[in-house]
Symmetry: C2
Subunit: 230 residues, 2 copies
């Protein structure tokens, strides 16, 4: 593959959103709330919350705004009452404080020697900067939804990645743990690498081991680095 | 100052465009061309080349395109003939291969411990990534003209910096060696730090030692780090 840059999905692919949100929820909501069930309930509202933006029914707003809006329902689903505004704001920031999977930083560090690296996430720009500074993710730049004002899997997000990297789409490799993200990237001519993350949903949902449509399927970013000769 | 992020002008402020362009010109055009005069001639076309975009007369194109367009005139001005397309392309890439001022990397490295750092340049996104990877500039993300589709000093470039950093304008400090850039930033509510770079124009034009309108005036990024407690 004649690839110059790698663009990464982040939630689930690079960082463990479920453990991180549950950690912050346990801290902020106390022991009476099932923190992992709360994380699952909140994440279940992630895609629906973007639909109004994706359909053009409302202007683009960053993911922090959507997380804030879907928070009350997620809390209610696990039997937690409304929370004060300052607690709600802290919960939204849980998504800025997620830990990377153990292979992520070593894998990215190897990959960065040869490739330009960027997140290509639906999380906002500041969210990506906060995650990266906290975890040591060695991005060269931040790409993704907020830069474009569109949410994945809208084609503009993938098109803009190649355009801003000044590369043909076929020289950009999108790395994700989600087959629909990769299918949308391929539809715009980008290359794709699937990462198997069996623990993303805490075992409640098991993703496929491989994506037959992807150029590569790996089970860690260190394996990806090896496969790409880094 | 209650500042969370620093946004840097790059050409002249962080990197020495004149020496870098002259170095590449000497390599590509040979000893018969006055490489520094060529660098000055090309740079003199930088602002005029952006005017048609800034006035709305043509859609946004990245700076590489403007550099390519103004190259023949700059060559002619120093008595150099037209060059083949591959040499022209290499000359355009000279702007991706500029060396930082000696204080830049140590200063930025100190500043990054406390602040989010980004270029806020009229140079394109890929240009910034290439400069940073070559020189070791420790940016957290790339902001600036191409992200917004507008050139400084258009207000949208400064507004977008604060918006994407999720900070109020008054929590973003713009750092530049050019008083007009800082004046435009202040007009949008951002804080400003002036860097005195007496060698930017090789002594042909001497910039002021201080900007009385700026929050801070310094003579290096290491001095800036000290002034900000880093």
């Amino acid at each position: 593959m004649d690839v110059g840059a790698l663009a990464f999905d982040v939630f689930g692919t690079v960082v463990d959103w479920r453990a991180g949100v549950a950690r912050e929820a346990a801290r902020l909501l106390g022991p009476d709330v099932d923190a992992h069930a709360f994380a699952d309930a909140w994440r279940a509202r992630y895609r629906p919350s973007m639909e109004e933006v994706r359909s053009g029914g409302r202007p683009f707003v960053p993911l922090d705004v959507l997380h804030r809006e879907s928070l009350p329902e997620a809390l209610a689903e696990v039997g937690a009452g409304p929370v004060p505004d300052d607690v709600a704001a802290e919960l939204v920031l849980a998504w800025h404080r997620l830990d990377p999977w153990p292979d992520a930083v070593p894998g990215l560090t190897r990959l960065r020697r040869r490739f330009v690296l960027a997140p290509l996430s639906n999380g906002g720009v500041r969210l990506q900067v906060d995650l990266a500074r906290r975890a040591g993710l060695p991005w060269d730049l931040v790409l993704g939804a907020e830069v474009v004002g569109r949410y994945k899997p809208d084609p503009e997000v993938y098109d803009a990645a190649a355009r801003l990297l000044a590369l043909p789409p076929s020289a950009v490799l999108v790395v994700a743990a989600h087959v629909d993200d990769l299918a949308a990237a391929r539809a715009r001519g980008l290359r794709t690498a699937y990462v198997h993350r069996p623990d993303e949903f805490g075992g409640t949902r098991v993703p496929p081991e491989r994506d037959p449509g992807a150029d590569l399927s790996v089970s860690s970013l260190e394996e990806l680095a090896g496969a790409l000769g880094c």
